[in-house]
Structures are given as C-alpha cells and as structure tokens.
Subunit: 258 residues, 4 copies
C-alpha cells in the first residue's frame, strides 16, 4: 500500500526568497518524518473572490522559481494550470499539473493536460458528487494518461460553507487512482468575508486526522510562516511551526489503517 | 420597469437548418406575445459530463450560423465563451457573451469579455451564494462595461441535485443589473444519469412561474422540437409546442408583479 | 379548482385581547378580498431555541381564547398539538389540528390526531424530501381520516438556513391533498441569532408570490401589529398593515395559474 | 482524558432471547478490548418511515428485558424515550435516557428527562448546526442535571441523504460534554427506499475511523448477527462478526489522538 504523502506549500508564490525558504523548511520537516513531499505553489490565482486581490508573479516568473525549487532542492513540484496555453510551458517544469476545482469539467483543459504525460491532479468541484469524478478521470485517461490523482476539497453545503464528506475517500479510491485530501481549502468559507473567502484554520487538524483515518493517499495543505500575513488564503493556511506535530499524528494514524 | 424578456434556443447548434428553423419558430411565438427575444445556441459544449458526448459544430461554424440568424431574422444572439481566445471572434457576431456557471469566477475571462463592450451574461455558479455575484459583477464593471446580466441556474443541494432559491432574485436584483432565470438548467440533475446529466422537464413550468412571480427580468429556456431527440440536455429542454401557453402565463404573472 | 385560502394569525397567543383584535383584523382583510381564512395561534411553543423564551398561555387558557375567536367571529381555528394528551382537548375546539414539522414522523401523534376526525395539517419536516410526505399522509389516512393538509416550510440548506424548493408543491399536490406554503417560517434562520432564530421578513413577499405562482392551495403567515414587539418569531412575522396589498397580489397570481 | 467507549446493540428488541444473546456477545467483544460498553436497544420505534413497519415489544416488555440485561450481565443500558409519560418508568431501569434526534428541541421532554437525574444522551437533529446543541444542553442543565451526552448522527444534505461534518466533534466537545458518534444512523439514506430508509453499511467503517481520529468520546453502533434479517435498520446495521476488528482499529486510532 502507498505510504502517506504530503503536498504542501504556500497558496501563492510571494517571492523567490520566501518560496525557497518555505520549500527548504518543508523538506526538512518531511525528511525527519520520512514523508514523501511534493512542493506546491501557485504562480497565478485566476479566480479570486475580488478583482483587487493579489494574484501572484505570473506564469513565466512563477515557473522560473518552481524550476529553481526543483533543481536546487530535488523536490517534485506542483502548480495549477488554468488554460490550454499554460499547459505546455507548465509541463516543462512541473511534475504534477493541477486542475482547479472550478475547471474540473473543462474537457479541453483536461485533455491538453493529459497529453503532456505529466501527473494530473484534479480537484473535485464543490458541485460534484464523488462518483462524478470517474467521468472526469475518464476524460484524462482517454488520452492514454493514467497518471491521475483525485483531490477532495469539500462540497457546497448551503451558502458560504463547505463540508467534507468522508464517504468520498472510499468512493474515489475505488477508481484505483490515488486520492488526496486538501485539508486547507476544505475549511474555506467561500466568499464568507464579503470580498474574500474566510477560513477556519482551527479545523484543519481535525479534518486531516479524520481523512487519514478514513484512508487517503496524501494530504494537501497550504502553509505559511505567518498565515495572518499571507497574501492569499491566510485564514485557512496553517503555520509551518504547527506542521511537524500534525504530520507525526497523521503518519501514526495512517500506520493504523493501512 | 423592464418588461419580461426571453432568452431561448436549442442547447447546442445541431445544424444550420435546424437552428434557422428553431429561431424562426421562436420569433413567431415571441412576436405573437410581444415578448423581446434573444436567440441562444451553443457552438461548443466544453464541459459535458462525459467525453463521448456531442459538443457542437465548433466556434467558427457555429458563429457563422449565429450570424445568419442575426442577419436574416434580425434577432439578437447569445452564446457561451469558454476561453480568452474565443472572446474576440465571438464578440464580432454575438450581442451577448455568456460566461458559463463553472467559469464565473475566472477573472481573466470576465475581463476579456468585458473589454469587448458587449453585454455580458454571467451564470451564477452552482457553488455561489446570490450575494457573491456582486464580486463577479465588479470584476466586469472594473473594465468600464456595465452591460451586465446575472443568471440564476440553481445551487448545489446535496449530490446530483440543484435547488432554486427564490430569494436569489431580489438579492441579485438589488445590484441594479437585470436578472434572468435559467429555467431549464435549473432542473438538471447534474451527473444524475451516471454518464450524463438527468433533467426534470416537468418542473420547468412550475419554477419559471415561481421565478417570474418572485420578480425577474427574463427567462432563459432551452427548447427543441423533440426534446427526447436533442443532442444535448434533452431531459431538461422543453418542447417548442409547449412554449406559447407557458409564455402567455409567464407574461400574465409578470404583469401582476411589475 | 380550490381558490386560494389563508391561514394566519400571531405566532403565539399573547393575550385574549390581542388575539381577538388580530382575528377581527384578519377577518376584515380577508372579507374584503373574498379570501377564506383559518385563524392560527399557538397556545404553547414547545420547541423554542432557548429555554428562557416565552411559550404562551398554556393549553387550557389558549383553547379557551381560540374557542372565543371561533364562536364570536365564526372563524375556523388552527393550532399545534405536541403530544397525544393534547389531542382530545384540542380537537374539541380546533377545526384543524396542526402537527409541527419536528414531530411529523411521530406515528402515535399522527394517529391520535387522525382519530379525532378533524382536519390534520402536517408541516413537512426540514429534514424530509417532498415525496417522503406520502408516507406521513399514509399514517394519517390509515386511520380512515383523509382530511389531510400538507404544509411546506422550507428544507435544511447548510447550517442555520432553509431553502424553499418550489418543486415540492407539484410533488406534494400529486398526492391529491391540499398543499399550503408557510411563508413566514420558511424565512426563518434557525438558531441563527445564537439563542433564538433569526428571520428574513423581507423575503416573505417574494417567496409567497413564487409559491402561489407554482401553485398552492393556501398560504400560511404569522402576522403581528408590530412584529418587532412580538413575543415569538418577530423577525419573520409580517406586519398586519402590509397584508392587504400582499394578499391582493397573491390572489391575482392565483387567478392566472388556476 | 476519557478512553473511547462503545454504545451498541440492536436497533430494536426483537425478542428476549435475541437481546440477551446480543448483549453477551457485545460484552465478550468489549471485554477483550477493555472497551467500556453501554448496551443499547429500543423498545418502540416511534417514528419509522412507514406505518406498517415493526415497532418493537412496547415499553413495559422492553424495559423488562433491558432490566434483565442490566441485572444478569451488569451492563449499563440505554434506550429512547419519546414522551414525558415514558420518562419515569424508563428511568427506573435505564442508566442513560436517549432523546431521539427529531425530538431534540422538545423542551418539556428534555426537562422531564433531566429531572430524573439519569444521564441524558441527546441526538443532534439532522436540521441543527453543531453549535445549536449548546441551547439544547442548556435546557437540560437548567434542571440541575449536567450528566449530558451529545450525539452526532449526520446532518441533512439535500434529499434522502445525510453528511457527517467532522467539524461538529470539536465544536460540540467545546461544550465540555462527552460527544458520541452514531456511526450507523449516520449512513442512513432517510426515506431512500420509498417506504423505508436505506443505508450504506459499507461506509460505517470509514466514518467511524474518521470520527475517532477527529476526536470523540464514544462510538454508537447498531449491530445484528445477520443485518439483512434485522427487523429494523438492517441496511445500516453492521454484523457482530465484523465488530472486533473494527473496534480494535478504532481503539488504536483513539490511542494516537488522545
């Protein structure tokens, strides 16, 4: 059985220096726990709640920084692609192309990403049932690329709230593809602060423990040295300082259930 | 006060002949009722449930047919745009550029569409609260384009089901922008047939009457001569033959509440 | 076809004087519109959010006042029953025994109420689908009492919020029983003010118009001379002064759709 | 910190013989794991979906059997109370009086139960937010009885479906009262089989692991030797044979997180 893996990094690339520092810090933490790490950072937040929000350094500069993370630290790197045009340049650098939840039904984007042969991580739309993801995966697999990861990030539950249905893990894992739990986006309160999304960082620990116990292949978390100063998704990011203890617990739970 | 308008047409362009015939039929029906009509048809269904589903004639051919509808019948025409690249060619033909619900948070697409100066109809994502649409509209208005329409098409309600919250109409109309009710997508059962979305055509009549009574500026409906033979969204499309009686009722309700 | 009827009154009996005054006022309003009226008032609020909240005058005193309304004004009267013991004394006075939403699945209560031969109005639980009400009605009908009314009062939609699914009206009316829309409880925000339920009085008008347009047999509304001073459910009650205009609109919509 | 406890037994008392046999079997299983056990069985299912469904042996006979379980095996026993009249006789036998979810807001029942001084286990209504339970607990505590247990059994999620929000455990535990996860009712599909509730027994294992990892004080499960032959709630009950392995896993997870 697959050991638990971690996908982690800041919500958005804030600077080369900050990104390198976060990547090194995560590497140290994961090495100490023998936990496989994929470094995650976005170069462009294409669908923020408000137009005035920080979006990131852009694709070119962002990919340059992610390449540096990859080459100097030897880490696998993951980032979002939002349009067909981004797929080819992103695939030159990224180990994993991530399809954002809102775009998980965009057939052309899925197929373009699949054609690169890279690993494709698709986030389940907040509007989809877990069993609907088999159709999404089939769109990717139809291009001959079976390197597919499915990520749970919460389902719409009334307005400005998400709920994580733990049944989604066994349902999606029945597909045979690895399934990841995005513990920090799942505690977002979408649009919940009027012009930005709120978040409930205090529940990340409980939900990630629950997900690992239900059985997942990996955990996805957005982290920051000082979440309250993060340029994006601060309210749901967790502090790097809190990560080692949480990961140790998750690893212990994973050992019980696998 | 704005009189009730109709946005209607087939889910997807099936052929030039079929499209022209449907447009003429709709024009005749709406003229008889003095109901403003915007003709709607998609040239590409970019996010169907399954990869094997019919997608349409493609943008170039689809726009050619819509131009013909526009020029020969004098109708305003509306269609979806799915990527920035589609915006410019689409804006040459279309009177209204429609942003699909799944894409309603994609900032770049909204801004590119806004920059054309065309009317922009944004469908509210199934994952959004009605008050979240003010941020979406603000992204468009930030480009100096205030020709904005907001469309309700149901909110996620558990799995494979949508619910229309009639409170969304007064909430969204408080923005000052016209609000349309998409009566046929709102009765979809997303993914509800395994590899395609189901639909509950039998509720279109009740929901559209309710929405007009709550107060809307227009109704959006996908229609077909023989819905059970439609190449897309048949289960929720309504038969052209049933349209005149339904529209007459809607017009009478509209007269009571406006 | 049944003409639209009104079930209305204060949430709770505040005093004999207030109750008589409200009943007379409602009678005058409904007579002017030729609208059948059933007077509604609770003698005991058995399930308020907090223990400190006002509950009413109790069953004995409450039924005495309702009997006075009935005898001196000739109005049909309706009130809740919460336990089997209440059924017999209540049935001596009341024309309609109402089963509260939380209790709509309590078999013994339904059967005891049915056995009185009175009309039974069952509120649909916030946790039920509209088609589940056929089983509830069957429990009543099994006692040989077919005088059944089904009332929609919103379905749970995330936390502390309800949504009215307008599909529920045609679904429940397919049972053949009259269906009523409870326009004021449907805009409650259950528990939404911490120790009491909030309410959105401003949406009563829109939802009741929508429900009548969808097609219902009656509208249920809690009213008060000064809702902000009401001892119960003030935030969702509507002012008696606003009632005539709203009812006139509802009657006009009803005439269009029936 | 409190060690994990188990509340388990058949949905309904099917016979004295079956009940005694199930209680002994559970006792043996729990002793082997040093797991505290409270034996649970209902004497009357007062709110079944359909009127024709089996309800149990009735209160008098049921309490006689539960007393025998208690006296001959030394087990604590728990059962539902549905009305004020049942409270006194039930409290003579039962260690824990359980308030059914649909009745969790019935003030008089809560207070009558509290007055017995017994432990009161209140199931959270499918229509309540976890933070709403503090008002429910306050109704009980107002009678001077602080022996309160709160039980999660799923929240309404669209129609005929429940979802377990793992955030509810830390939210409810913040009250200071022990919190139990009802793993078998949480996988019910209410009304999902037309005239009875369906169930998804296959998810009990995943949800109970998740809940223990999130942090709970106990697990509640309905069990049966042959669930497919159970007279009530068979589709969501789990087989006694499957219990030892599952409990061992839960205990190991509990040890990691406590």
């Amino acid at each position: 059985k697959r050991p638990l893996a971690l996908v982690a990094g800041p919500c958005v690339i804030e600077s080369e220096l900050a990104t390198m520092r976060q990547a090194e810090r995560l590497m140290t933490i994961c090495n100490a726990l023998s936990l496989p790490l994929i470094f995650k950072a976005s170069y462009d937040k294409a669908n923020r709640t408000s137009i005035g929000a920080y979006r990131g350094p852009g694709m070119r500069e962002g990919l340059r920084i992610l390449r540096k993370v990859k080459e100097s630290l030897g880490l696998a790197v993951l980032s979002d692609v939002h349009s067909i045009e981004q797929v080819a340049p992103a695939a030159e650098v990224l180990d994993v192309l991530q399809i954002p939840a809102f775009l998980c039904r965009q057939t052309d984007l899925l197929i373009a990403a699949a054609a690169t042969g890279r690993v494709i991580n698709v986030k389940k739309g907040q509007f989809l049932a877990p069993w609907d993801m088999k159709n999404v995966a089939a769109k990717i697999a139809s291009s001959g690329n079976e390197n597919i990861i499915l990520t749970e990030r919460g389902a719409s539950f009334g307005y400005n709230n998400l709920v994580v249905d733990m049944r989604s893990f066994p349902v999606m894992r029945a597909s045979g593809y690895p399934v990841i739990f995005d513990a920090t986006h799942s505690v977002q309160l979408p649009g919940g602060q009027g012009e930005s999304s709120g978040g409930q960082r205090e529940f990340v620990e409980f939900l990630s423990r629950a997900a690992v116990a239900a059985g997942v292949d990996g955990i996805f978390m957005e982290v920051h040295e000082e979440p309250e100063k993060a340029l994006c998704d601060g309210p749901n990011s967790i502090a790097l300082n809190d990560l080692p203890a949480l990961l140790a617990t998750l690893k212990a739970i994973d050992a019980v259930v696998k």
